[in-house]
Symmetry: C2
Subunit: 215 residues, 2 copies
């Protein structure tokens, strides 16, 4: 039975899982959950994922939530190509980089948070854009320093092959571009982003290439 | 060389790492980073952790950041007792639960975000408290459902021994208590929290038992 990914073309957490599935050459079908139209709050979807967030991955009888947990599962279940290095000392570096994005940038800028700021706290578009870019800048400053200061940084965040840190980074760069963040302070991030986007598994996972994309 | 944990008694991310170190019976020394006094923004600390967040763990020559990445490292380096189950199907469940807290509750309520709401967006204490409890409630509703609906939930989030999901959950419950959130809608969370707090590794990691604690 082919895997099924509940996602949204613009969700960067779903984007991460799409990249991982593509890197592993795993077939999957897409179940679009239109976040702006609130598909994630239907009883049907909440029965699949009680958080009402995307992505959710169904693999046989298993229902998997949380993008990083899903990617670790894919990496354990389908080991080739590996998305984490071999040694514990290298793995913690890669996971730490991925978590800068997945814990400390993306959740603060998630749609539901922006909606709270707009609807419950009455902020306007300019305040939302400032918020959005503030958290990306804060996270990217650290991410850039950690890349630039470490000899393990190469074509990709960690060595010569893409891995979990790249999988987390790329969708966040796409989000930054959408909000027209100035990326010039982040030359290493930008270079690695470009290396990734030249690879088919990343390019095919891009929001513009999803069946549920919108202008 | 004994490990060194840069933390803050009240940081729930540092609290997670303290629990994991205690469960593994690993000795460590505490380097207090007083977040309210902005120790995390000194050049000295930014040289240790460019994110300016806690925790950071030094183990020999390694400098480790991001609490979940650190705990995975400890679990790989010091395997007993295991903080993750053996099968990929169980591991993804435990990691997913941990990430509900570590990605979708805690970062949105972090001190730096509350400060942004207060100083840049001029919100008062009541608005901050509503924000804080909203994100805990939203996350705990899903967490409770996932626990209650799954036969693998037992004395702890997953089986008869504490693991990564419990390590993430307990500090978040302590935070909820501090903001006087009504926990009665979360009987399974509350029961598991109590099971954990009866164990020395959790109790010893509590903010009140840290050398840098304040009233």
């Amino acid at each position: 039975m082919v895997m099924k990914l509940y996602g949204y073309f613009r969700s960067s957490a779903a984007f991460r899982v799409r990249i991982a599935l593509n890197l592993k050459k795993l077939e999957y079908e897409t179940a679009p959950i239109h976040l702006r139209r609130n598909d994630q709050t239907t009883a049907d979807y909440l029965a699949v994922n009680p958080q009402g967030l995307v992505p959710t991955l169904k693999d046989g009888g298993l229902t998997l939530i949380q993008s990083l947990a899903i990617i670790e599962y894919l990496n354990e279940t389908y080991p080739e190509p590996p998305l984490l290095p071999r040694s514990a000392a290298d793995r913690v570096r890669v996971r730490g980089l991925a978590e800068i994005v997945a814990c400390d940038i993306h959740p603060i800028n998630n749609l539901r948070v922006l909606r709270y700021l707009t609807h419950s706290l009455s902020h306007d578009e300019a305040a939302i854009a400032a918020w959005y870019n503030h958290w990306i800048d804060t996270g990217f400053q650290a991410f850039e320093k950690l890349l630039a200061a470490d000899r393990r940084t190469s074509v990709f965040c960690h060595g010569e092959a893409p891995g979990l840190a790249d999988v987390a980074l790329v969708p966040q760069v796409i989000n930054a571009e959408r909000y027209q963040l100035d990326l010039s302070p982040y030359p290493t991030i930008t270079r690695i982003f470009q290396s990734c986007m030249r690879l088919e598994p990343f390019a095919a996972a891009h929001p513009d290439n999803q069946p549920d994309r919108e202008a």
